[in-house]
Symmetry: D3
Subunit: 132 residues, 6 copies
């Protein structure tokens, strides 16, 4: 359960509405998901986070679907329930199929396993991997 109430568009001040408007315009959507309605309690963090996410998730050297898959991978590793749901939805909207989700979770699981095997033995980095 949340630690505050969401701030709906009609109750938002001008600063918050400006961000909400930009979110909807950028996404070609007519609604705002809950994440932003809670961040709105701290308008500077709302604005900064939205501007950062918009910049980071834009097409670049990596395509937006790959970026969403990475977002899901991190969220699953950290077990952020909200983020798992919202970014799986985002990835599906960008073309993630059911088989891609299955393989993604398999890689995330395996990486979490081998991370601990490497931790446990405290495996030293190979010379071949070091930056010269």
């Amino acid at each position: 359960m949340p630690v505050a109430k969401p701030i709906e568009y009609e109750d938002a001040n001008a600063e918050v509405r400006a961000v909400y408007d930009d979110i909807m315009k950028t996404r070609g959507s007519d609604w705002i998901n809950n994440f932003w309605k809670y961040l709105a309690h701290d308008p500077k963090t709302l604005r900064r986070t939205w501007e950062s996410v918009k910049e980071v998730m834009a097409p670049g050297a990596l395509d937006p679907l790959v970026k969403e898959l990475v977002y899901v991978a991190v969220s699953v590793t950290n077990n952020c329930e909200y983020c798992i749901h919202s970014h799986i939805a985002g990835a599906r909207a960008k073309g993630m199929s059911d088989s891609m989700l299955g393989e993604l979770l398999a890689v995330v699981g395996m990486a979490n396993e081998t991370n601990r095997l490497a931790n446990g033995w405290q495996v030293p980095v190979d010379e071949a991997f070091k930056v010269k």
Copy 2:
């Protein structure tokens, strides 16, 4: 520093050598990286982990480079030094450019940030994201 000594090919038993041989053959390589030389202290885990990694990282619905990027994302989130180095090397070998690495780390950082913003406000999952 490691909690045991690595098991080199010449000191390995037949079970371990069979895995080492398959690793080198599968990769078209003539060396074994340290991770496997420590797992070799537990030959069943060596074999099972290698078979699992081989299956999980093979081309499928996701291509091998995307899988390596996801591996790096998890390893960075967990701060596994060995895994960060070995999977960045693996991703570079599969085509990751410097710009791709920069963007990947930017996404990983942002996801770790918004995971905590969602945790902190305990944002409830939107109805729109729920599986019907």
Copy 3:
């Protein structure tokens, strides 16, 4: 959902009641929050944890509100739902305003992000930061 039933005052043994009494007396309160009612299944851990929390959270070089803010920061990083709720309540009782909560979560988010940027590049510690 919990993995056991809470132990209420009327069902508690003398050892547990003594801790419950001290909690209420120390806080000037007439109720016990759930955390202690589950720890009561292991009376030694109940007593030890209460004594430790009482000592650690007492006024000292850091004031109690700052200590609660730090507690919230850790709980948000680990995503402990119970702890987020109970320590946000504790921080509010000690004077945390809504703006302070907003800024606190912003710092926690940012720290989680830059932790991963530092991990990802494996940034070496500057000479200037080393203890001489």
Copy 4:
């Protein structure tokens, strides 16, 4: 060991130098710590992260020392070696004494312990803590 080489001022392009200049000017300092010299491989992330950190860590409802203590708490929880060193240095520069550091780490340790006790028993949130 790092996964790339640091980008020094004399080798940086104009975009990176502009950020380096602002860091030094803002801090009234004549050097740049390593974190930024690695982020410089991705100039957009360098600029965005610096702008974000500058905004988040500025005086506000929480004072800058408290924000640094929170940064240390998160970095210790995540075990980010670089961040522990750089933010302990930052906190000392803002007035953290040795006793404050000792108490801070005691709170961080205790919070990590009770987070797991709450997780283990899966303690349900008390009605009194819920937002009405």
Copy 5:
């Protein structure tokens, strides 16, 4: 809430049914817990994970109850709600008493605390602990 629907035996394909059959046969049970019904969306991961768990959790140098206690310890540290419930149930089935659970959680809590105290001071490994 789950991100997909569970795959029940009657709706499962032959590959998935073969795993379900082996789970029930191995456990001498007539039902399948939810974990496997979601993994079934990715039949290769279902099969591989089941084979791995069966191998890892079998009696060996460590007895099965100790292995379940370790599984609970990891799941509590990571706060995986499903895993905490299923492995506490598994440990109880193998003989874990209420006092053993209480002590287990006490150790897990203490380890999470001292891990952060060691992180915070960045305590160097003693010569006596190093592998010669």
Copy 6:
């Protein structure tokens, strides 16, 4: 590298020496490992942590070796280098063989993997696992 210097016996005050003496007496040993020499910067935390560890790790419903194995499992999951080394040494001193270590790390790796598979699918807890 550490964030402070260790406090050796000869430089310690009476409060710290009393704890050092009890550690050596309890263990039948003539040296103190580094962990305590750093905690000594905060004598109250030194004393409280030592008293807590002594109580938690004493023989009880779980035997001391099992407790050390659980400590290693948590430390590996969190990747606390110091703790991995010191508690593997502690476990060996209490009878952990090389095969036991291999199996322990295999269980820790597997638990970290399945924790994320359960997170990723957000698997709901089975009715059968719920406390009635």
